[in-house]
Structures are given as structure tokens and as C-alpha cells.
């Protein structure tokens, strides 16, 4: 089922915040989706929230984790819950671009003639599950570049639009494993999030074994309708992003570049290339979506902090020194979040603002 939910209009100056009752309807839908996902996959609440943030931000998500941790199951459950068309492609080394995008075939017309007809590939869907995307060759991986960024496919000079909304949810094994092709930087930058799917703990594992035969999750019973998804995306458009938060995002992304004004020592030492402007855009959208998940009409600094790590952890290119010192991207992003002043007061270092203990009236 193809939904045409194009809300990518330009920025419109907002004069008022979203009223509480309008936001409450969207929040209720989101909580329903989260409940379905949490019921389907046990012990992954935080991962489910971030995936939903990515979906609301219209971004593509890269899930990284070892085999068998539930990446594919999560994406399948998400497709069923959102009631969107879902295709799955198992990426292999011999997979060709035409296997994903589609190809032209020669066929006979009813009049007896012959013509080249386009046979669509699995990319023509709402949710594309690119399973083990790093097992395909770079050539095939790059076939998704236009589809992910432009939402269209161009073959033989003809551009065909993909259904709206279009999400790529890719999974990959850690790149240290044999027989894989690391994703090129341009490809990585097109993913909104890179989420790490870690192992579940013993309690969750016990619950899975005890309640699921052969580990099969229960089918979602409350799927969203197209109208509901439309409402969610429309509400997302009205989440207010204050100017100081925009500036904080900009400063945060700028600080990932070495030898800039607010770059930390770790950035100067370990980062070769910082995050791109696309990262700032993605972070702003993700912050709005996170605020919507929290039931707020505006995004704050805490929303930025919540999404900063998954937005930037695949966009920073570290040098060999970082690998030698076992410095991860996440640790560098976390240091940036800890040290960067949110509001940018630019006060002297010896002027301390001691905030009183929080007392809610």
C-alpha cells in the first residue's frame, strides 16, 4: 500500500504552539505504536523509541548488530504496525543494482509488437528492509543513493518516484566480520540514525524463551491506519524548534570538526572529518520527533542530547590514532555533549552560575 504523505513544505513561521488537545491525539497514537513494538520485541524499549523517532523524522535507519539479536524482526514488526507496504531484500555479494531498483524487460504487446517494459524492483515500497546491507558490493550499495536521498529511481534516463513515505531500514553485521563491504561515507551519511542493537539481558531472554515458541513474536493486532500516520506526520510538522536549540545543534555539529572554536581536545586529536550539514538537519528533525514522543509541543536541549549520538556516531570519521587508543565515536560525542554550554552564554570561565535545586511549583 502506497501512502502519499508529502509534508516536506518549507519552513513556515509559527505564531503559536500546538494546542495540548491536538498534541494529545498524536501522542496517543505514538504510545499505541510503541506498545505494539514493545509487545512484539521484548526488552528493546529504547531502541523502539529511537526507531520511531527516525520514522517520524522521515529518515532512514541503519541497525547494526550481531546476527540473531532481532534486527529483522523489529523492522518487520514496524512495517506491520504502521500498516505500510514492506519489502525485504537480502543483500548478498552477487546482488546487482537491478535486483533492487528494477529492470527493463522485452515483452510482447497485445498487438503483436514488442516493447521494453520496466519491471519495478523491491525498492518501490514504503519500507525497504535491506538486510545485511554490508554484504552487497559497493556498486549495489550505491544503487540506493538516489532512492534514499531523492525518493526516486532513474533508469535509462527516466526518473520514477518512489511511494511516499519511503524508509530504508538497513541492518548490517559489524564490519570486522569476513565477507563484508563497509558502507561508503556518502551512503552512511544518508542514514538518519545508526542504532546499535545489543544483546538482551538474561531476564529478557528468559521471557522470550518462556513465552515464544520458536521465538516467533506475536502478530501486531493494532495497526495504524493511513489517516493516523498522516496525522502523526502532520503533527510532527508543527513541533516548534526554538532558535537557541537550532544554534545549539549548529554549534554541536561545528564542534565535531577539528580545530574549530568549540572543538574539544578529543575532537582535535581523533577526528579526521566531522559531521556534515546533513547531520545538523537530521538532528533538528530528530529532536522534533523526540519532543513529540515526549508529548511536548517544542523541542528542547534534552531532545537534542537524546538524538545526538545516533545521528552523529556514523558521521564522524576517526583517524588511526583513535583506533589505536580505542576511542569510539560515541565517547567523543558524549564528551561534546558534556562540555558544550547549551545556551552559549559565553561567560568568562571564572564566572559560575550555580543553579538552585530544581523545585517545581
Amino acid at each position: 500500500m502506497t501512502q502519499n504523505l508529502d509534508h516536506t513544505s518549507g519552513a513556515v513561521p509559527q505564531s503559536a504552539l500546538l494546542p495540548p488537545h491536538e498534541l494529545a491525539a498524536a501522542t496517543e497514537l505514538i504510545q499505541r505504536v510503541l506498545g505494539q513494538l514493545d509487545q512484539t520485541l521484548l526488552g528493546r524499549q529504547q531502541l523502539h523509541r529511537m526507531v520511531l523517532v527516525g520514522i517520524l523524522s522521515r529518515g532512514h535507519i541503519l541497525l547494526e548488530g550481531l546476527p540473531g539479536v532481532g534486527k529483522t524482526a523489529l523492522i518487520k514488526a514496524l512495517g506491520q504496525t504502521l500498516h505500510l507496504q514492506f519489502n525485504r531484500v537480502q543483500f548478498t555479494p552477487d546482488l546487482m543494482p537491478s535486483d533492487i531498483l528494477g529492470t527493463h524487460i522485452l515483452r510482447e504487446t497485445p498487438g503483436g509488437g514488442r516493447e521494453m517494459a520496466f519491471q519495478t524492483g523491491p525498492v518501490f515500497t514504503n519500507i525497504l528492509l535491506a538486510d545485511e546491507i554490508n554484504r552487497a558490493s559497493p556498486k549495489t550499495q550505491s544503487a540506493l543513493l538516489e532512492a534514499m536521498q531523492e525518493g526516486s529511481v532513474t533508469l535509462l534516463g527516466q526518473t520514477r518516484a518512489l511511494p511516499r513515505p519511503f524508509f530504508v531500514l538497513a541492518s548490517q553485521n559489524p564490519i570486522e566480520l569476513e565477507g563484508t563491504y563497509p558502507l561508503p561515507e556518502a551512503q552512511l551519511d544518508r542514514f538518519l540514525f545508526k542504532l546499535t542493537v545489543s544483546d538482551v539481558n538474561v531476564d529478557v531472554l528468559t521471557e522470550i524463551i518462556a513465552t515464544r515458541r520458536r521465538g516467533e513474536p506475536p502478530a501486531p493486532d493494532k495497526a495504524l491506519s493511513a489517516v493516523d500516520l498522516d496525522l502523526l506526520l502532520a503533527t510532527m510538522e508543527r513541533i516548534y524548534l526554538p532558535r537557541p536549540v537550532c544554534r545549539y545543534i549548529s554549534r554541536l555539529v561545528a564542534a565535531t570538526h577539528p580545530r574549530t572554536a568549540e572543538a574539544t581536545d578529543e575532537v582535535n586529536s581523533y577526528v579526521t572529518y566531522g559531521a556534515s550539514p546533513r547531520a545538523a538537519i537530521a538532528m533538528a528533525e530528530a529532536a522534533r520527533a523526540h519532543a513529540l514522543l515526549e508529548g511536548r509541543p517544542s523541542a528542547g536541549f534534552e531532545d537534542v542530547k537524546a538524538v545526538a549520538a545516533p545521528v552523529m556516531n556514523h558521521r564522524l570519521i576517526l583517524n588511526y590514532k583513535a583506533r589505536f587508543d580505542q576511542i569510539s565515536t560515541l565517547s567523543i560525542v558524549q564528551q561534546l555533549l558534556d562540555r558544550l554550554d547549551e545556551a552559549g552564554l559565553k561567560l568568562p570561565a571564572d564566572v559560575i552560575i550555580q543553579r538552585p535545586k530544581k523545585v517545581r511549583a
Partner: protein, 475 residues
Amino acid sequence: MTDHQRVVANTRARIRTILGLRTAVAVLSAWLLVWGTAVFVLRGTLLVSRESLLWGLLGVVAAVVFGAVVAVRRCPSADTVRAMLDGHWQCGGLLMATGDVDTGDWPINIPSAATPSVHWQGGRQYGILLCCTTFLLASFLIPTRFLGELASHRLLVGAEVEKLAEKVQLLKEEKILPPERAKSLEMALEQLQRDASGSDPAKTWEAMDHLEQSIAQASAEAAEDAARDAEKAARAEELAAALDKAQGQMSPNDLNEAMNVLAQDVKRAADEDELMADTLSEELKAACENGSLNAEQLTELAHALGMCKGCDLRRLQNLAAARLIDPALLEQMQAQCEIDPEGLAAMLSELEDSSGLEDLLAKSGKPGRGGVDRGRGDAEMTWTDGTNRDDVDFREKVLPPAVVASLKDSRLQGISVGDPTAAAASEPSTGGSLDASAAGRGSARTQVILPEHRKVIQRYFAREAAGKIKAPANP
């Protein structure tokens, strides 16, 4: 104003205060250091007084104003402070949104007492300010003499110049020096103090000596005039008082003669003493010249003359107090100006004929009545019989010879041991090879025996002749 607006305003005010304090302390420290250095240098080199260096207080005010301006300019905007508070209270952007959009029914609950406190960890800056303040105070309070020693090229003549200035001021007040002359002397003193240099102190001291000499000369002349006027006034006063007392006991001729003498004395004194001329009334002068002074006018005249004498003596006292004249001169003048009208009146009463009046009056004002070892140099000499030189012998005494002029400036260079015969040091060798030599002996050169060696050689041969030295064996 809502609670959150009040919190934002209070927070900005606190930040402004701290920023202003921080900037003011920094600027003030720098200014106090500069000011202290300026005070130290100006006091040490130009001997500028402390009071004239208080202009630096304006810098303190400027520092505070500058701190306030910087605080206003550097203070974060309301939006920035609102964002800071939003982040702290985790308002999720609601507080930030209040500055841009209508928040509608969304509650923003921030207690008004939640204004964050702003602290400045300025211990180091406070320490620097304290050090600079201490330096400034030390620059102000350090005694001038220590600064003068530090500035070794300065010649400290301040005290001497001050003394001279006081003397000039006194001479100016006593109208001894005309105002133009006094002003030129004061300017010369100031110039002298400015130009006093330790590198050439003789020039300064010479100039000061010259000034002091000028002042002393003017003082001496003034003292001489004052003494003379006081003496004349005293004599006239004595006569006037004596006539007042002896007026009824004198014959008309004597009285008339005495009046003439008094009129001449008063006129002479008034001509030379402006003070007296101003003090005596015209009526009194006319009566004095006419010789028609009655008892009342005589009393008035004596009183006026006494005032003139007192003024002259007071001037002398001031000059003596300022050490411009010898205090002994003052005592002498005070003794000289003491009058004895009763005694003079008695003598005038006992005067038999008017021919001796002038001699009496002339003697009454003359010195030399204190004995043979007292009195002034202008006392009248009294001669007795000449000394008899007969029967007087002078004791014979042999004087030592005069010093030889040619040896007065001679200098001992040394004592020669030989005969005082000079020999040329470059005397050539005489004779040729084996000249005047016997067989087996001789020398190719005749050794020149210098005078200082001659005595030794003679002694050597004298001993050889006595057989005390053995001749060396031939190899």
C-alpha cells in the same frame, strides 16, 4: 510580569553585576598600578606633592564606569538566559518558545525563587587588586627623603628653598622689598628648585648663595634704616617727653630753643621715615615747626614718636626672628632706644643758660656713656696724656733663618752610594782586542764601571788585598 520573566530579569541583573564587578576589578587593578607608578616616579623625580597627585581618583571612577559599560555590553540577551534556564529546568523548549510564539495553554511552572546564583571565583583578581592598592598607598606614604635618595640625580634643596621663600615673604610683608623684586625672587627660587640637579650641585648652591646674599643684603639695609629711624624717633620722643615734663620749669628762651631742636629732629626724622611722616598729623607738624607745641601736643607727639619707634623695633624683631639680622643688633637697638625723659627733664630744668642747651641735647643722644669697654664705635674718643717711651726696653730675640726658597719645593728622589760624579751611561768601549793586557790575561773590552758599582769594587779589591779571598784556581 510572570514568574519566569522575573527569573530571567533577575538572572540577567546578577550576571550584569558580576561582570561589572569583574571588569571593574581588573581595570581598577591596572589603573592603580599605573597610578602608583606615576605617583612613585613623579614624587621621586619632580618632588610633586601628594595633594597634586590625587587626580588619579578620577581613574577609579572611570574604572567603575567602564566596568558597568562592559557589563551591559557583555551581558547575555534575554533569549540566551531564557535558553539557559530552559535547559536547567528541562522545560523542553517551552520557556524558550515564550520569547517567540504564543504558548497558549501550555504551563510554564518556574518558581520565582529559582533564580540561579551567579558567583565569581575572583580570588586571584582580588589579590592583584590588593597588591596594586598596597603599592599605590606605599607610593603615596613613602617619605620624600627616601624617594630623593632613590632619585640620586635630584638635588634636594626643598628645605633651603622653602626657608628662602619664607624670608622673601617676610621682606615682602614688611615692605622691605618692592613687590616686583619679591616676585622675581620667588620665581628665581622656583626655577632653582626645578633645575636643582645632583650632577652639578655647585651651580645650584652658588645660585642659592647668590639669592641668599641678595636677601641678606636687603635685610641688612632695611635693618640699618630701621635702626636709624628708631634711634631718631627715640631721641625725639625723649626730648618731647622731657619738654612735656619740664615745660613749666624752663625759661621761655630755653624752651624756645629746645622746641627748635625738637622741630629739627622731628623734621629730619619725618623726611627720612615715611612711617613717621604718615603718623604725624599736619597740625602737629605745623605746631612743631612753629615751636608752639602745648602740653597736650607734646604728649601726642611723644606718643606718635613712640609708635614709630615701636614699629621700627618690631620690624627689627621680625628680621631677627627670621635670622635675617644678628639678634645682638636687636638687643643693642632696644637698649639704644630706651629713653629717660625724667633725667633729661631734670637736666633741662637745671640748665642755667641756653648756650649749653644745644651741647646738652647733642650729648644726650650720643653713645659712649656706658664706660670704657662698652659702647659703639662712633662714640666720641677721649684723649689723655701721651705714653712716655722713656725707660722702656725691648727684649732682644733671635729670629730663625728664613726658609731656603730653592729647596722649599724640592723632593727626595734617592741617595746615591758613590761619588757624586756623573758619568755618561753610553760611554763607548775604549781600546781594541787585548788592549793593555798582560800575557795570559786581558779582555777584549774595557768594562765601564758605573759610579754605583765603584764602591763595591773598591771594597772587593780591598778585601782581596787583605788576603780574605782566595783567587780561583785555573781550570
